[in-house]
């Protein structure tokens, strides 16, 4: 019975983390996470200037990334 309880709790906690993972996946796909990492790495705050700098750095990776047929 205990083992079923703990399994149920595990499942519930996994389900709870679903929205967070979904949002994280969207943020990764849409490069928001890459921008956040760029800000953290360079100790910058979000602004037009820092975003323009991020775009410059990110541009080469973005255009070389193939999109499948």
């Amino acid at each position: 019975m205990n083992s079923w309880n703990s399994k149920f709790q595990q499942l519930a906690s996994r389900l709870k983390s679903c929205p967070a993972i979904f949002t994280a996946a969207l943020r990764e796909i849409f490069d928001e996470s890459a921008y956040a990492r760029f800000l953290a790495r360079n100790r910058l705050s979000a602004s037009r200037v820092s975003y323009a700098e991020f775009l410059r750095e990110h541009e080469v990776a973005k255009v070389r990334r193939p999109r499948c047929c």
Binding site: R41, K62, V63, C68
Partner: protein
């Protein structure tokens, strides 16, 4: 869970899957529900993932959770970032899912739903998923190296060269075919042309909004872009009903082709942040949402398939494209079953995000299963249409005739009854003047999708909106592939030209940018123009050429994978990649032979050229003859190159197996994973 219960569950899945497959394979003369395809697919994927991919992971690749991945060792917060496996899964799926799995199954539906469905399922679990999984893992073990680099290091210099040529060829042919699909979907369609034209200023606005007003808020900008696109679809109806505006946007195929060529060149030369990046975000947003919506629509509506399991066109006389089931069904459906292009993504960004080696199974094998499911949904969307409607939309005028009555009579004579009045009513329901002669798969898919959506949401009154939403979705998708593909091709050409003259390789030097952009756009633009001018609709010649080049790239990837497995001293398991490799060799080489030398002018390029040569010596005929010979030449060159890498690989395998050459792979050295240590506490 007790082991006996687990065994019982998997046995139940196996029995259910077998029953669903038997239902779709053995029913004759009765219509079946689309849910049988969905059940068969889920059971096949479930079993394959649980047992086959686990076998590959454990025995063939020996995934090591203790081994640090490049994302962990080289973590720089930029290219190499250890990322949650579900996030990588989503990222990888968004990169591999393109218009291919939507278009290929729709075209292959001319054989009936059975051949395509079986190939999508078997091809994916035994071929496509395996390719994506092993290439991803091999790239992870080599610091995220690309397929070309792995081919050069593990097979030889020739391998690297063949991979390079195959990639450039596939990009050029893919872009030409993709643009042709858009042209055929938008020609004489003011509503569609208006909507797609509006996506360009919308993308420019998004680029400026993102850079000037809300820096970094990509999701918010994409949502805003999506709302604007929906308004553009709504505005398209107004445009099509306002004679003056409709006149501006009623474009012929050649005009559309020219506009797309100009657009492709401009998009390649403009700053990335202004057009390419926002379009990419918008397209991805629409793509993920629409695929999810289509899945929900199919499950909610569980429509009946009207297409029979097999049609009379299994004899090779199909109007959509000519050729027998073998090999043509297998090159027509590439992306949903096995696609060489995926190997570029599995050896591109994804390996640099993998946190643990064991996660390559879920990302590589699992994401391809999801892509295969998209292909199953496309097959369903095509097969819910009445067969007469399907053939009326997809058959070129050169086969069924130009006049609606003639086309309807021809299609009815094949045993698929349809009347000109029914087609006229359908065209009116979706807001078009005509739906005849719209080869390429996109309009048929859009009608099927509109049928599913309008029956779930909004009813027949909004069928036109759903149709144009589907057309917008596909065209946006394809134009994004066009932008991105032209740039990737341009960079590849610049990389090669840097060996000739250094400044040509500089990606910021405008003369080089313009010259290489013109080269790539000119190459795919030529294929597009050829397709537009082809009286058989272009798809008959160009889609098989694309399928062949895509499958040839998969052949190269599987050659590299088999070579690495042999060099890992795991030759006893080489069948895992060797079996799909041999199948692809049989398929692509047979298809290439047919496309070059088949005596039927509808199949063989040279026979078609010969037939034209016997006709009047006009300039148009001379051009068509040249195009046929060019297509035959391109096919021949591709096959020759792949034959070279096959021979080189086979010699290498024999040398290693006979002990004449020392086995040894060029992996990066083992470094223990910090994540594993953390987990163990």
């Amino acid at each position: 869970m007790p082991k006996s219960l687990r065994i019982l569950i998997w046995l139940a899945v196996a029995v259910l899957g077998a029953f669903a497959l038997a239902t779709i394979a053995l029913h004759r003369g009765e219509r079946i529900n689309a849910m049988w395809l969905v059940v068969a697919a889920f059971c096949t994927y479930g079993l394959a993932y649980r047992f086959y991919s686990k076998f590959i992971a454990a025995k063939v690749l020996a995934l090591d959770p203790q081994r640090a991945t490049p994302a962990e060792r080289l973590d720089n917060g930029r290219d190499f970032v250890p990322t949650n496996k579900w996030v990588v899964f989503g990222h990888h799926f968004a990169a591999i899912a393109g218009p291919g799995p939507l278009v290929g199954p729709v075209l292959a539906a001319q054989f009936g739903y059975l051949p395509g469905t079986l190939w999508i399922l078997a091809g994916a679990v035994l071929g496509g998923c395996v390719q994506d999984f092993v290439i991803l893992l091999f790239s992870v073990r080599r610091d995220g190296k690309s397929l070309t680099e792995m081919a050069r290091e593990e097979v030889g210099r020739l391998g690297g060269l063949v991979a390079y040529v195959a990639i450039i060829s596939i990009i050029v042919i893919l872009l030409g075919v993709a643009a042709l699909i858009v042209v055929n979907a938008l020609k004489n369609s003011p509503w569609g042309a208006f909507t797609i034209a509006m996506t360009i200023p919308i993308a420019l606005f998004m680029g400026l909004y993102l850079r000037r007003l809300r820096p970094g808020k990509v999701l918010e900008t994409s949502v805003l872009g999506f709302i604007l696109v929906m308004l553009a679809i709504w505005g398209g109806q107004w445009a099509s009903q306002t004679p003056r505006v409709a006149g501006w946007f009623t474009l012929t195929a050649p005009t559309l082709a020219l506009l797309i060529i100009i657009y492709g060149f401009a998009a390649s030369a403009l700053p990335v942040w202004l057009l390419l990046a926002p379009r990419d975000y918008l397209s991805t947003f629409v793509k993920l949402g629409t695929i999810a919506l289509l899945a929900l629509g199919i499950i909610a509506l569980h429509p009946t398939l009207h297409m029979p399991p097999l049609t009379r066109f299994i004899d090779g006389s199909g109007p959509v494209f000519a050729g027998n089931i073998f090999p043509f069904a297998f090159i027509t459906i590439a992306c949903g079953a096995i696609s060489g292009f995926h190997s570029l993504i599995s050896s591109g960004t994804t390996p640099k995000l993998i946190r643990r080696e064991t996660e390559t199974r879920m990302v590589g094998y699992g994401a391809m299963m999801a892509e295969s499911m998209v292909a199953i949904m496309a097959m369903i969307a095509a097969c819910v249409l009445q067969p007469g409607t399907y053939f009326a939309i997809n058959s070129p005028a050169g086969i069924v005739g130009q006049a609606p009555e003639t086309a309807a009579a021809t299609i009815s004579s094949w045993g698929f009854p349809i009347t000109a009045t029914e087609m006229h009513s359908l065209a009116q329901a979706v807001g078009e003047q005509t739906l005849y002669n719209r080869t390429g798969g996109a309009p048929a898919f859009a009608v099927g999708m509109a049928h599913i959506f309008s029956n779930s949401l909004g009813g027949q009154a909004v069928m036109a909106i759903w149709y144009h939403f589907a057309i917008m979705f596909e065209a946006l998708f394809i134009l994004t592939v066009l932008d991105a593909g032209t740039r990737v091709g341009r960079f590849m050409v610049q990389d090669a030209l840097t060996h000739v003259w250094k400044p040509l390789g500089r990606t910021s030097w405008y003369p080089s940018i313009l010259a290489t952009s013109a080269l790539i756009v000119g190459a795919w633009g030529y294929f597009l123009w050829q397709g537009v001018k082809d009286p058989l609709g272009g798809i008959n010649s160009l889609w098989p050429l694309f399928g062949i080049s895509n499958q040839l790239l998969a052949t190269v990837a599987l050659c590299v994978a088999t070579t690495i497995i042999v060099k890992m001293r795991k030759a006893r398991y080489a069948a895992v990649t060797l079996t799909p490799l041999l199948w692809l060799v049989a398929v692509t080489f047979t298809a290439s032979w047919h496309k070059m030398f088949d005596p039927n002018p509808r199949i063989g390029f040279l026979a078609h050229a010969g037939q034209l040569a016997m006709g009047a010596a006009t300039a148009a005929n001379s051009r068509l003859i040249f195009n046929d010979r060019l297509d035959a030449f391109v096919t021949g060159v591709l096959i020759f190159m792949v034959a070279l890498i096959l021979i080189e690989s086979a010699f290498l395998w024999l040398s290693v197996l006979s002990g004449r050459k020392q086995a040894g792979v060029k992996e990066t050295a083992f470094v223990p994973s910090g994540f594993a240590a953390e987990e163990q506490g």
